[in-house]
Amino acid sequence: MSKVKLKKYGLKDIMYFTNKPKERENKIQSASSAKTAATFKCNEKAAQRHPDEQYFVIENIIDRGKGVKSYQMKKQDGTEAAFFRAGQYVVIRQEIDGKLIARPVSISSGPVDTLEGKLELTVKMVENGFLSKYIIENWKVGDVVRTSGPQGLFYYEGFRDEKHVIACSGGSGITPILSMARAIASGDEDFKLTILYGSRTKADILFAEEFAEVLKATDKVKLVNVLSDEEADDCEHGFISAELVKKYAGDEKFSLFASGPQAMYEFLDKEADKLNLDLKHYRKEIFGSIKEPWTLPGYPAEAKDKVFKLKVKMCNSEYDIPCNANENMLVALERAGIAGPNRCRGGVCGWCRSRLVSGDVFIPELTDGRRGADKRYGYIHPCASFALSDVEIEIPNRK
């Protein structure tokens, strides 16, 4: 092929070319031979923001009654705690009977407290709740608590959410909403928050004093207590309905945030339908696994109550363990003391992602947060999968 003629380039440029490697070598030879890897501000900030783990000392415990306690903690090493978005959670990692159990717990303090190393977690004792029962009965002042960094996607996002957020909350589901209210009061978040807080009676209302403090500090937060089993002058009566949401929304556009027990979501989903909201305007904090998968459509009834064999490959080890069909597969791994990384326990964070080698599993659609290619290549999130036969899986290393 004929080549273009280059008038301005000639033999000296070929010399320039051939000398380049030598030029590079000279530059290398003139550099320092120091044997230290530099540290960088960016990496340090990232490590503060997203620590693998944090250790706190419990400084104060507030018994809020009805099996709810708040634990006010401070970083053990005296440094700042990881800053977070109000509404996020941390994963508690607690050794119980020699087995490492992990559960997500909402943060009830505001993000600004992390600058003093402080964090407040609020735990409600759940019936049959393995870790919550342990915490409520055992954690005492002076204990050291191991947590993950902040996790979760239930927070205000100005580019997506409307300026006015109506938060529907029930029981201890109020904790992430309290954190949001505190963040507004401290100036770390900027939106208008109307909280519809459902309780059975006035006596069941949590964090009344804490909210009073927030309301004093900012006029952007409004709290409406909604009582189902009692009538009171300054409270709404009944359940959190579409009508009630409309009443407090007025003519303004709004985003609906929901945080509460599974039963509240089931009720609220129907009410939200009546409000004709875009998908993006209705956000739910769901963590914790699906209970009673056999009540869901598509579940093969014969699997219920069975105990299957679960063969697990983890790096260079293999285990044969039982797997109760009624519990998600992560629970089987935890019971055997071999659970790998996990965070949300609701199928969305992907941290427990594992390869399904053989066998059948049931994956409820509501909590199927897998990547598209993972579905096609046969990967599952054990926290949101239920065994339907003997199963073999390959899991990430536990640590």
Binding site: V4, K8, S32, K280, N316, G350, P396
Partner: protein, 519 residues
């Protein structure tokens, strides 16, 4: 417990690590691939928010080729490694909107196809047709010379550099020898390219992150020609799908993948021979290790004290400057591209096309709003659910600009920046997205530092520079890997950054290790 002896251990399942692992396994060796994360892929990954799955990093795979006419990376991935990837070709180069140094405003599109690009440039900047022809011819020669070079990298001279057949180059690639290492903009000027056209061609700098008044011609010429000639690609399953295809093939070849498993030390015996890797699950015996990490991390943290690192290697890593790092806004709208009025896959919005100004701005937070957006649904209808659109905005930085922010202001800084980027996008294109964002995630160098563990959160390894060109790195590919049984691969390697380059580099390094195994 299982047998923990392997022919080769690859540390880090990033793009180059996966490639190296497949290359070695493909030769019948027993290979262990380790990654400290619970997910393989490194940059080649994705994440789910609500009903949307975002590609973490793949904008455009450059220079893959097509079935029957694969280019170098395509030949390795599809013919040698036999990966089951469903590629999608992008029938356009880019649209760019901004003002050149002469003060003229341009909003132009470059199609694919070498002749199409030449003709389009002539229409955009009259007088650029002839120089464009010369440019394309030189660029083609660069691609051919690079292919020839890549196929002949095995003979080493006494001084450690590769032995090349100068007569063959003189005969076949004489223009390549003359211009390859000259600065890109200088070559453009010397072949008579109009200044406005130079500005428009320079817009790709965001994808290389280098100063075009200093960077070698070959770098940009190779990339530009590949984009023009064979069309850029993405994968139907996004980058995580590419990773899954790699891992599926690796497993078929008998490879083992251990996730969430950190390699703490590469261990040597008293004589400095590699004997194994200490991992989270104990010692794994092997005599050959490939690490998909920056060499500075390998030398200072990974190798134990028995393994002798030549002083020259410390000097080399100390001489290097870290490459560019990114701010990414992953945005999903609850409207289709038709509803939004989107037609283009890639839109560069530099504001000013002045490369020197842009390089200067890339060292600051306030001045840097030079962004590029890719809109996946334009070429991949499966990129997100029907009625939605998924796009990624990117800004690059050449310094650790984000390292100065406090924890408390960090989120506000991310939001403030994206607000500016979105305002510019809406103003430049007339496409309105601010009222229909359904999911959004803003990632900064902090985010990349967290997930990739690279110095300063860079994703591009070491900066390509006037003294540290791709070709001189390639000439030293073996000299830069002097430790027997231990090699590094990745974006900080000889070929630099990008999916194509890192995948090819992993293959290069895999082959070098195989040669050492053969003795």
């Amino acid at each position: 417990m299982g047998n923990s002896r392997f022919d080769c251990v690859v540390i880090g399942a990033g793009i180059a690590g996966m490639s190296a692992a497949i290359t070695v396994a493909n030769a019948g060796k027993k290979v262990l691939l380790l990654d400290q994360h619970n997910l393989p892929g490194g940059c080649a990954s994705s994440f789910v928010r609500g009903r949307i799955e975002f590609d973490a990093s793949l904008h455009e795979f450059c220079g893959l080729g097509k079935p029957g006419r694969w280019e170098l990376p395509g030949r390795i991935m599809m013919e040698e490694h036999k990966l089951g990837i469903d590629w999608i070709w992008i029938p356009e180069m880019y649209r760019c909107i901004g003002t050149t140094r002469s003060g003229k405003h341009f909003d132009v599109k470059l199609p694919t196809g070498v002749d199409n690009v030449i003709n389009a440039m002539e229409e955009i900047v009259p007088g650029s047709k002839e120089p464009m022809k010369v440019f394309m011819d030189l660029a083609r020669e660069c691609v051919e010379a690079n292919d020839y070079f890549s196929a002949n990298m095995s003979t080493v001279k006494k001084d450690g550099f590769l032995k090349t057949d100068s007569l063959y180059y003189m005969k076949n690639f004489s223009n390549f020898l003359k211009v390859a290492e000259r600065p890109f903009n200088e070559v453009m000027r010397n072949i008579g390219m109009p200044e406005d056209a130079i500005d428009i061609l320079d817009v790709y700098w965001t994808y290389i992150g280098a100063d075009y008044s200093k960077m070698s011609f070959v770098h940009q010429a190779w990339m530009f020609y590949q984009y023009a000639n064979v069309e850029p690609t993405i994968t139907r399953d996004n980058a995580h799908g590419m990773t899954m295809a790699c891992m599926e093939r690796f497993r078929e070849l008998g490879g083992e993948l251990w996730l969430n498993t950190k390699a703490h030390k590469v261990c040597g015996d008293k004589d400095g021979n590699i004997i194994g890797v200490m991992t989270d699950v104990g010692m794994v015996e092997t005599n050959y290790v490939i690490a998909n990490v920056n060499p500075e991390i390998a030398y200072n943290k990974l190798l134990d004290e028995n393994i002798k690192v030549p002083e020259r290697e410390y000097k080399r890593v100390n001489a290097e400057k870290h490459g560019i790092r990114f701010f990414n806004a992953y945005v999903a709208c609850n409207k289709s591209i038709e509803e939004l009025g989107i037609e283009d896959y890639t839109i560069f919005m530099p504001g000013s096309f002045d490369n020197a100004k842009n390089i200067k701005d890339s060292k600051s937070y306030e001045d840097n709003t030079h962004s590029v957006v890719v809109i996946y649904n334009v070429v991949n209808p499966d990129a997100s659910p029907k009625g939605t659109t998924v796009m990624t905005f990117t800004i690059c930085y050449t310094e650790d600009v984000w390292g100065d922010f406090t924890q408390r202001e960090y989120v506000h800084k991310k939001q403030e920046l994206f607000q500016k980027v979105m305002d510019n996008f809406e103003k430049d294109t007339g496409i309105i997205i601010h009222d229909c964002i359904e999911e959004i995630e803003l990632a900064t160098p902090w985010t990349f530092a967290h997930f990739l563990n690279t110095p300063e959160g860079t994703s591009y390894g070491y900066m390509v520079d006037n003294w540290d060109t791709m070709l001189s790195r390639l000439m030293a590919i073996r000299k830069d890997q002097p430790i027997k049984g231990f090699k590094t691969c990745g974006a900080a390697g000889a070929r630099g950054d990008g999916y194509n380059m890192t995948y090819t580099n992993g293959n290069d390094i895999g082959k070098i290790i195989l040669e050492e195994m053969e003795g």
